[in-house]
C-alpha cells in the first residue's frame, strides 16, 4: 500500500502554489545585491567618468580587466581632467563578479548592472570593450543583441559596499555604506549594515 502514500503526496502538491517559474519567459525579481555585467558610466554632460587609472585592473582578483589611459585630446576631452580610459576591456569568461573593481574605482565609473543573462558563441565576444560597456546617452546600459534585457531591468543596479569614504565624501570616512547608482550623478550611500546613523551632511555627494 506504500505507493498510495506516494500518490497522496503528489495530489496534495498539485493543489499547492508552484515555486518554479516559467523562466526565461517569466523572471523573478533579482536580489538587491546581485552582481551582473558592468557598465561604464558617464556624467550628465556626457563625459566619461573613467579616468583610465587602472585601479580596477590592479585590484581585480581574476585579472580580467585591461585598461590603458591616455591624455585627453586637446579641445575635445573625453573625461574631465587630464586622463581618460582609452582602452577598457573586461573578459567575462574570467570575471567572478566580485565587485572589487567597483569598490576600487575612485570616480564610480565602473559599476555593475544586474544583468547576468548573456552568452556568447566565441571567446572574442566574451571580452566587452568600451563600445559595449559604456552607458548610452540616457545613462542606461546598452541592450546588446545577445543580452536578455526586460523592460525596467536596466533601472536596477548592483549595490556595492565601501568601508572608506564613499563618493569622496569625508563624512563617510570609516563607515560601512551601501551605494547603488547607475546613470548620471552619484547617489548618496545608504548606511546598511552598521549601526551608524547616516552622516548629517551628504548634500555635496554629487559634486563630481
Amino acid at each position: 500500500m506504500g505507493y498510495l502514500q506516494g500518490f497522496a503526496v503528489t495530489f496534495k502538491k498539485l493543489t499547492e502554489d508552484r515555486v518554479t517559474t516559467e523562466y526565461p519567459e517569466q523572471k523573478r525579481p533579482k536580489a538587491d545585491r546581485l552582481h551582473g555585467r558592468h557598465v561604464l558610466n558617464r556624467y550628465e554632460d556626457g563625459m566619461e567618468k573613467c579616468i583610465g587609472c587602472e585601479l580596477c585592473a590592479g585590484v581585480c582578483p581574476a585579472n580580467c580587466i585591461y585598461v590603458r589611459g591616455k591624455d585627453n585630446p586637446d579641445g575635445d576631452p573625453v573625461s574631465p581632467g587630464e586622463r581618460y580610459g582609452f582602452i577598457y576591456e573586461i573578459n567575462y569568461l574570467r570575471c567572478i563578479h566580485c565587485d572589487m573593481c567597483v569598490e576600487a574605482c575612485p570616480t564610480e565609473a565602473i559599476t555593475e548592472s544586474k544583468l547576468f543573462e548573456f552568452s556568447f558563441t566565441n571567446r572574442a565576444d566574451a571580452i566587452y570593450t568600451k563600445n559595449e560597456l559604456l552607458v548610452d546617452d540616457d545613462g542606461m546600459p546598452q541592450h546588446l543583441p545577445w543580452e536578455d534585457w526586460r523592460p525596467g531591468e536596466d533601472e536596477m543596479t548592483s549595490g556595492w559596499m565601501r568601508a572608506t569614504a564613499s563618493s569622496g565624501n569625508a563624512a563617510y570616512e570609516g563607515k560601512v555604506a551601501w551605494s547603488g547608482e547607475l546613470g548620471y550623478g552619484v547617489r548618496a550611500p545608504e548606511i546598511g549594515q552598521s549601526q551608524d546613523a547616516p552622516p548629517a551632511d551628504t548634500s555635496d555627494s554629487g559634486a563630481h
Partner: protein
C-alpha cells in the same frame, strides 16, 4: 653624496635605537642608519647629491649634548658616541607632522598621476603619516601639467618643493634651467621665461622627483607601476654602458630607468639613453626578411633569405667580400660574425668602425683607464676627443663631478670649446689637423713655442698641470670626422710618454669596444689579439690584414669589392665621406642585417631583420672594457631574431659551421681563444650583473704615421664636423619624442670671422672644399676659435659629408657669401 672614503679607515661608533653601529667618519647620519638597517624616511635627500635639508622628513632625535633634540639626519655627519632615536614618540610626531604639512597643498590626484603606485609620498604617508588631515581649506591651484621641455611635464600642484630636480639641474647636470620661484605658499618650480628645460639630462629629474610633479612624455599615462615588469640591463645608446632597468608591460617596453652602478653611471642617464627604447618599439622596425626582386624589396621567408644570402657570401671571392659595422651587436653576436667572416668565409675585410673612429690597435694598445681612474680626486684629465656632453652623456656627468667636486684638473685639447669647457682649467684648441703637433709640444722638454694655433703660455700652463701629482688620464677620441684618425693616433702616441698616463676611449658608437675586443677590425682576432698573435684556430683564417671601412668602400666604388654585408651600419649617414659611401653601395651587392631601413639599406639586395638589445640576451663592453649583461625583456617584432643566430645560420648556408647553438657555446669559444675574457660566461655575467667585469690585456702599439695637414691659403678655414647628442641617426629618428630635437645644420664661426663676412645671423653661406660645396646658414659662436668652421654632423637636413675626402689629414674649406 658619494662616499670616497676607503673601507679601511677608522670608523666611529654611534648608537642607533640602543644598538651600537659602526659608521664611516664624515658619513651622514641618514646613510649610516640605512647601512645599519634603519631606514629613515626622506624626500629631498639623494645619495648622489649634496644634502640641503629642505623637506625635514628625516628628522630624528639626536643627543645634542643638551639632551635629545630633533635633527635632520641628512644634514649631520656622524660623530663618535652620537646617540640617535629614530623610533621615539617625538620623532614619529615630527614625521607625522611633516607629512600632514606636505599634504596641505598636495592635490591627491593619485589615480591620474604617473607616480601613483611607486610614489615616495604615498608610501611614506602610509608608513609614517597621519591617517587624516586637519586641513579642510582649498588647496592651491596651478595650471595642470605644463611642458617645461620637449620631454618633461611639470605639475606644480603636486610639487613638494624638495629641491631634488633643481639641485640635479644645477649641481649634477650643470644646466641650471629650472629654479624655485616665488615665496612661501606660492613657491613653485619653473623654468625661466622663454627658456625651456632643454637639458640633455632632463629625464633624470623625472626619475628622482619623489612625487608626480615631473613626468616624462614617452611614459605619460602609458601604464601604472603595478603592471610593469622589469629586468636589469645595459644601455646601448652610447658606449658608456650605463646600467638601466628595462620596464615593460604586455610585451612592450615602456621605459628605462637609471640604475646606480658605482663604477659607471651613478644612476644617471642621458635623455638619449633613457628614451632610446622608443625606437625599438617603433612601427618602422623591419619585421621579416626581405629580398630584392625586380627592383623592389619583397618579403621572403627566412629559409629563402638565409639560403640566398649564404650563397652570395659563399660565391664571392673572400678578398672581394667585406663586412661593415657591428657596433650595434652584443659581444656574443660580434664574436659569431667575426667567426663567420674570418673563420668560415675567410675574409679579413671586417670593420666595425665607420671611418669615424680610431685605429683598433691604438685603442687596444694604449694603457686603459676605468671611469673611476679617470675621475680620481686630484687627477688631471686631458680631453682629446669629442664633446662628452654630446656623445657620452653619463660620462660627462662623472667628469664634471670630478672637476667640480673632486679637484680634478681638466685640460681641453679639442678643436673648439666643448660642454666640459666651463669646468676645464686649460683650454687648448689646436687647429684641426695639428693636434699631434700640440700633443708633442705638451710632452716636450724644450721651452714651449706657439704651436698649432695655441700660445706658448697656454702650453706651459698645461704642462705644469700634467706634471702635477695626480694621475693623468687622456679621454681619447675623434672630436671631428673632418680630421684624420692618424692625427689623433700620433697625438695619443706622443702623450704615452707622460709617466703613468692612462687612456679612456671616447669612441661613442654603442658596443664598438666589444666589437674591437671580438676582433671586428682588419688584422684582429677575438681577445685583443692580431692575426699573427691570435690563438683562434679557425680553418679559413686569412694570414694578412684586410681592408678598413674606408678601403672597402673605395674598393667597392672602384669595382674591386663585390659584396658588402652591413651589420646595423648606415655608411651613407655615418661614414664621413657621404659621396664615397653612396658610390660604393650603389656598385656592390649589399646585404643588410638591421633593425630599420636606412639610407644605406635602400641599396640592399637583401635585408635580414635583427632583434634589438631589449629583445635578446647578451652582453656589452663599454669604453672601459667593462663587460655587463644585456637582458631580454620582450620578444622581437615579427620574425626578427638575434644576430648571433643569423650568423650561425649564414655559416651553415655558406657551407661552414660556427658550432654555436647557445650563448654558452659562444662564451666557451671565446674563452678558448681569448685569455683576456677568461672567466666570463653567462653565469658570471649573471652573478656580476651590476658592475660587470673589466677585460684586461693590450696589444702592441702601432707606430706613429707622422702625418701633417695640407697647407692652406690664408682665406681657408679648417672644417670641424662633430657629433651632437641629437642627430638624424637611426635610433633617434625612430624615437617620436627625440626625432625633432636635432638642432639642424648651421656653420659656426668665431664672432670676428663672422663679422668679417658682413652677414646677418642665419644668412646662407657657401662652404666649399676640394671635394664639394654646400650652402648653410651661418651663426657666430664664442666656442669656436678663429680660423675654424664648425658644423654638426648628420643632422638630417643638409649633408656636409660631401665636403670631406676620407684620408685627408684635415679639411680646408672656403666660406663665401650667398649660395652661388
Amino acid at each position: 653624496m658619494t662616499d670616497t672614503q676607503p673601507e679601511t679607515e677608522a670608523s666611529v661608533t654611534i648608537v642607533v635605537d640602543g644598538q651600537e653601529v659602526a659608521a664611516r667618519p664624515g658619513e651622514l647620519l641618514i646613510d649610516a642608519c640605512e647601512r645599519a638597517g634603519t631606514y629613515i624616511p626622506r624626500f629631498c635627500y639623494h645619495e648622489r647629491m649634496k644634502p640641503v635639508g629642505m623637506c625635514r622628513m628625516c628628522l630624528v632625535e639626536v643627543d645634542t649634548g643638551r639632551g635629545m633634540g630633533l635633527q635632520p639626519s641628512c644634514m649631520i655627519p656622524v660623530a663618535e658616541g652620537m646617540t640617535v632615536d629614530t623610533q621615539s614618540e617625538i620623532t614619529k610626531k615630527a614625521q607625522d607632522g611633516i607629512l600632514e604639512f606636505l599634504l596641505i597643498n598636495h592635490p591627491l590626484d593619485c589615480p591620474v598621476c604617473d607616480k601613483g603606485g611607486e610614489c615616495p609620498l604615498q608610501d611614506q604617508t602610509m608608513a609614517y603619516g597621519p591617517g587624516e588631515s586637519r586641513f579642510v581649506e582649498e588647496k592651491r591651484h596651478y595650471e595642470k601639467p605644463i611642458p617645461i621641455s620637449d620631454t618633461v611635464f611639470l605639475d606644480r600642484e603636486r610639487c613638494i618643493l624638495c629641491d631634488r630636480c633643481t639641485r640635479f639641474a644645477k649641481e649634477v647636470a650643470g644646466d641650471p634651467l629650472i629654479h624655485f620661484q616665488g615665496r612661501g605658499n606660492q613657491t613653485e618650480v619653473n623654468t625661466f621665461p622663454d627658456e625651456p628645460f632643454s637639458s640633455y639630462f632632463s629625464g633624470n629629474t623625472v626619475q628622482i622627483c619623489p612625487v608626480g610633479a615631473l613626468t616624462a612624455k614617452p611614459y605619460r599615462f602609458k601604464a601604472r607601476p603595478w603592471d610593469l615588469e622589469e629586468t636589469e640591463s645595459t644601455s646601448v645608446a652610447d658606449a658608456v654602458g650605463s646600467r638601466i632597468t628595462v620596464q615593460s608591460s604586455r610585451n612592450q617596453v615602456l621605459r628605462y630607468m637609471g640604475v646606480d652602478s658605482d663604477p659607471v653611471n651613478w644612476g644617471w642617464l642621458s635623455d638619449k639613453e633613457r628614451f632610446s627604447f622608443e625606437a625599438f618599439n617603433s612601427d618602422e622596425r623591419i619585421t621579416e626578411p626581405m629580398a630584392r626582386s625586380g627592383g623592389d624589396l619583397e618579403p621572403v621567408s627566412w629559409g629563402a633569405a638565409i639560403a640566398a644570402v649564404g650563397d652570395a657570401l659563399k660565391n664571392t671571392d673572400p678578398s672581394r667580400l667585406g663586412i661593415i659595422g657591428g657596433a650595434r651587436l652584443t659581444n656574443e653576436s660580434q664574436f659569431a660574425f667575426t667567426k663567420l667572416a674570418k673563420g668560415v668565409l675567410g675574409t679579413d675585410n671586417v670593420d666595425a668602425q665607420l671611418g669615424d673612429g680610431l685605429p683598433a690597435e691604438l685603442v687596444l694598445g694604449l694603457p686603459r683607464a676605468t671611469i673611476d681612474q679617470a675621475c680620481a680626486p686630484g687627477g688631471t684629465i686631458i680631453l682629446m676627443g669629442p664633446d662628452p656632453k654630446e656623445t657620452l652623456g653619463a660620462l660627462f656627468l662623472r667628469l664634471k663631478h670630478a672637476a667640480v667636486e673632486d679637484g680634478a684638473t681638466i685640460i681641453e685639447v679639442t678643436p673648439h670649446r666643448t660642454g666640459l669647457g666651463q669646468y676645464a682649467a686649460h683650454h687648448l684648441h689646436p687647429l684641426p689637423g695639428e693636434t699631434a703637433a700640440l700633443a708633442a709640444a705638451l710632452v716636450a722638454e724644450t721651452p714651449a713655442l706657439d704651436t698649432a694655433g695655441v700660445s706658448a703660455d697656454a702650453i706651459t700652463a698645461a704642462r705644469a698641470a700634467i706634471a702635477g701629482d695626480g694621475p693623468v688620464t687622456v679621454i681619447l677620441g675623434r672630436a671631428s670626422v673632418a680630421e684624420s684618425a692618424a692625427v689623433i693616433a700620433d697625438a695619443a702616441l706622443s702623450l704615452t710618454s707622460i709617466p703613468g698616463v692612462r687612456f679612456l676611449s671616447a669612441l661613442s658608437r654603442s658596443n664598438v669596444h666589444g666589437a674591437l675586443d671580438m676582433g671586428m677590425s682588419p688584422g684582429l682576432l677575438p681577445g685583443r689579439s692580431t692575426l699573427a698573435s691570435g690563438t683562434a684556430n679557425w680553418p679559413n683564417t686569412p694570414s694578412t690584414a684586410g681592408m678598413s671601412t674606408a678601403q672597402m668602400l673605395q674598393a667597392a666604388a672602384d669595382g674591386s669589392l663585390d659584396t658588402i654585408l652591413l651589420l646595423g651600419a648606415d655608411p651613407i649617414s655615418d661614414f664621413p665621406d657621404t659621396d664615397l659611401a653612396e658610390r660604393a653601395l650603389a656598385n656592390a651587392t649589399v646585404i643588410a642585417v638591421d633593425l630599420f631601413e636606412t639610407a644605406s639599406t635602400d641599396h640592399a639586395d637583401a635585408i635580414l631583420p635583427a632583434a634589438a638589445p631589449q629583445e635578446a640576451d647578451g652582453s656589452f663592453t663599454n669604453l672601459e672594457g667593462r663587460v655587463t649583461k644585456i637582458s631580454r625583456k620582450v620578444t622581437p617584432p615579427g620574425t626578427a631574431r638575434p644576430d648571433w643566430i643569423i650568423a650561425a645560420e649564414l655559416a651553415m648556408a655558406a657551407g661552414g659551421d660556427l658550432g654555436i647553438e647557445s650563448l654558452d657555446d659562444v662564451w666557451a669559444q671565446i674563452a678558448a681563444v681569448s685569455p683576456a675574457h677568461a672567466g666570463i660566461d653567462t653565469a658570471s655575467l649573471d652573478a656580476n650583473q651590476r658592475d660587470g667585469v673589466v677585460v684586461e690585456g693590450t696589444l702592441d702599439l702601432p707606430a706613429a704615421s707622422g702625418v701633417s695637414p695640407a697647407v692652406a691659403d690664408a682665406y681657408a678655414y679648417r672644417l670641424v664636423v662633430s657629433r651632437r647628442m641629437y642627430d638624424a641617426g637611426t635610433i633617434l629618428a625612430n624615437s617620436p619624442s627625440s626625432a625633432h630635437l636635432a638642432s639642424g645644420t648651421a656653420l659656426h664661426l668665431h664672432p670676428v670671422d663672422f663679422d668679417a663676412l658682413g652677414l646677418d645671423r642665419g644668412a646662407e653661406v657657401t662652404v666649399s672644399s676640394a671635394t664639394g660645396s654646400v650652402s648653410l646658414p651661418v651663426e657666430p659662436s664664442g666656442d669656436v676659435p678663429r680660423g675654424v668652421a664648425a658644423v654638426p654632423a648628420n643632422q638630417g637636413d643638409i649633408v656636409v659629408g660631401t665636403l670631406i675626402a676620407v684620408g685627408d689629414v684635415a679639411t680646408n674649406v672656403r666660406v663665401e657669401r650667398g649660395d652661388s
